[in-house]
């Protein structure tokens, strides 16, 4: 394997001690970062360096590090999850950066996601929206056969696409209106498209939208920025479906 030249980078990182404290940017330098390493591995290198220097390491969210859990959440150089397409921050690799580049790392910004510490924001609002209606009720008993109810391929595919939303919050972070419509639309769609989800569909659409409004997320203006930055490429067609589900449900009241 040929030896790749390590990257030397200047990092501008948002540091904030707590939710109520005023934050500020701190500038750090990291050197000899492998272009093959992931962005979070680069953050690990920075933190080890800070610990050796006796400083407080940078707090950031991460869990599976394989792009499926939705925990990582950094706003890097003007993009949620950084400059690569259809990936989460953990799947962003350092080969996307140039030697000598300055990298600005910020937390998600929106009224719905207050900063807890440094780059970690409180995304429990998404859990509250899910608890308001993002589920189906099933009777206990024997497990029904998976293919007992025939479902058109198109519906199954679209439901699966919607279900690939990992609830990371990149849509809210990107939206000029701080709107959570793409997330709520995906979570309503993944159930609304399937027969098992139809039972509670009307109630679900109304209560999830009500909860989203209550938690201070903005009103969607269909700019489509969310679907561009979404690491899972969730389509805004889901937002049209949510509008349809909600309006039809309200008309029946």
């Amino acid at each position: 394997m040929s030896e790749k030249k390590g990257l030397n980078l200047t990092l501008k990182v948002w540091r904030q001690k707590g939710p109520k404290e005023a934050g500020r940017f701190e500038t750090y330098s990291v050197s000899n970062i492998s272009p093959d390493s992931s962005f979070l591995e680069m953050m690990d290198v920075l933190n080890e360096q800070l610990i050796v220097e006796g400083k407080d390491p940078v707090a950031f969210d991460h869990d599976c590090r394989e792009g499926i859990c939705g925990m990582c959440s950094l706003y890097i150089n003007g993009h949620a999850h950084g400059p690569d397409e259809d990936v989460t921050t953990c799947q962003l690799h350092m080969r996307k950066f140039k030697d000598g580049e300055t990298v600005t790392i910020e937390p998600w910004r929106s009224a719905g996601f207050p900063v807890i510490k440094d780059l970690i924001v409180d995304r429990s609002a998404f859990d509250k929206i899910m608890a308001a209606g993002g589920f189906i009720s099933v009777n206990t008993g024997g497990v029904p056969d998976g293919n007992a109810i025939p479902i058109p391929k198109k519906d199954a595919d679209e439901a699966m696409d919607a279900a690939s939303c990992i609830g990371c919050g990149a849509c809210v972070a990107t939206c000029k209106n701080g709107s959570a419509m793409l997330f709520v639309a995906a979570k309503v769609s993944q159930l609304a498209l399937l027969p098992q989800g139809r039972v509670e569909a009307a109630r679900r659409a109304k209560s999830m939208v009500a909860k989203m409004d209550e938690l201070g997320f903005g009103n969607c203006t269909n700019t489509g920025a969310c679907e561009v930055e979404c690491p899972k490429g969730i389509s805004i067609a889901n937002i049209a479906r949510l509008n349809r589900e909600f309006l039809l449900a309200k008309l029946q009241d």
């Binding site: 150089n77 990107t174 000029k176 409004d213 269909n222 700019t223 349809r244």
Partner: protein
């Protein structure tokens, strides 16, 4: 049902329906305006068709009933745009991104609908003062009664000879085109009449309709100024 407007999607529904209603009005308005340049093309007497159009619009009972409803449409669209924009700014939060927002492929007009709306509202104020107020309230010597009614053509024709007015109308038309190029398809999306197949179709239809309406108004003002100077 009654509390639908307390939901975000309900408020957006109002924006979308009032917006589509205003687009219908614009199409009728553009049709009557097109008579301004049709008279010379068809060889009828100067202003004959246009004055007949204005006469119809001011005397037809259906149009008279629609007038206050139209005003209501404007008010709903403007008031709700202000409410929604304030809520959205609040939801965005006070902290902005130091590295900016570099999301590619986002339509410029979609991010600037409120600014475009303010530009259109300023234009509307000038437009109403120049024509509607004179035709309906204060009157104007140029509106001398003809056999059929107002001679609106002379008022319109003379007003368009003023350079700054013509520039205002051309810019107003272009601002309208940008506003509608996002607004039209977005209205369908908001009422749920859209899906992955129809989003690109609606977006294309939207651009075509927006520029026909916007450039239509601009062109009529420009033609009045350039091609038919005061005789």
């Amino acid at each position: 049902m009654a509390n639908i407007f307390s939901y975000s999607i309900g408020r957006k529904l109002l924006m979308s329906l009032s917006g589509l209603f205003l687009v219908m009005f614009l199409l009728v308005h553009l049709l009557v305006n097109s008579f301004l340049i049709l008279d010379p093309l068809l060889g009828t007497a100067e202003g004959e068709m246009y004055n007949a159009g204005v006469h119809f619009m001011t005397t037809n009972p259906f149009i008279r009933i629609m007038e206050p409803i139209l005003a209501g449409g404007f008010i709903v669209h403007i008031v709700y745009s202000i409410i929604l924009t304030i809520q959205n700014m609040r939801a965005r939060g006070s902290k902005t991104y130091a590295s900016g927002n570099k999301t590619p492929d986002v339509e410029w007009s979609s991010k600037n609908m409120f600014v475009l709306g303010i530009a259109l509202l300023s234009f509307l104020a000038i437009h109403i003062a120049q024509f509607w107020v004179k035709m309906k309230i204060t009157g104007d010597p140029r509106l001398d009664y003809t056999v059929e009614g107002h001679n609106a053509y002379v008022l319109v024709h003379e007003t368009f000879q003023i350079t700054w007015v013509m520039i205002c109308y051309v810019i107003g038309g272009i601002a309208l085109a940008f506003h509608l190029s996002h607004g039209f398809w977005s209205a369908f999306h908001t009422v749920g009449l859209s899906n992955s197949i129809w989003i690109p179709r609606l977006q294309k239809i939207s651009v075509v309709i927006a520029w026909i309406i916007g450039l239509g108004f601009s062109t009529i003002a420009l033609v009045q100024y350039l091609v038919y100077p005061l005789s």
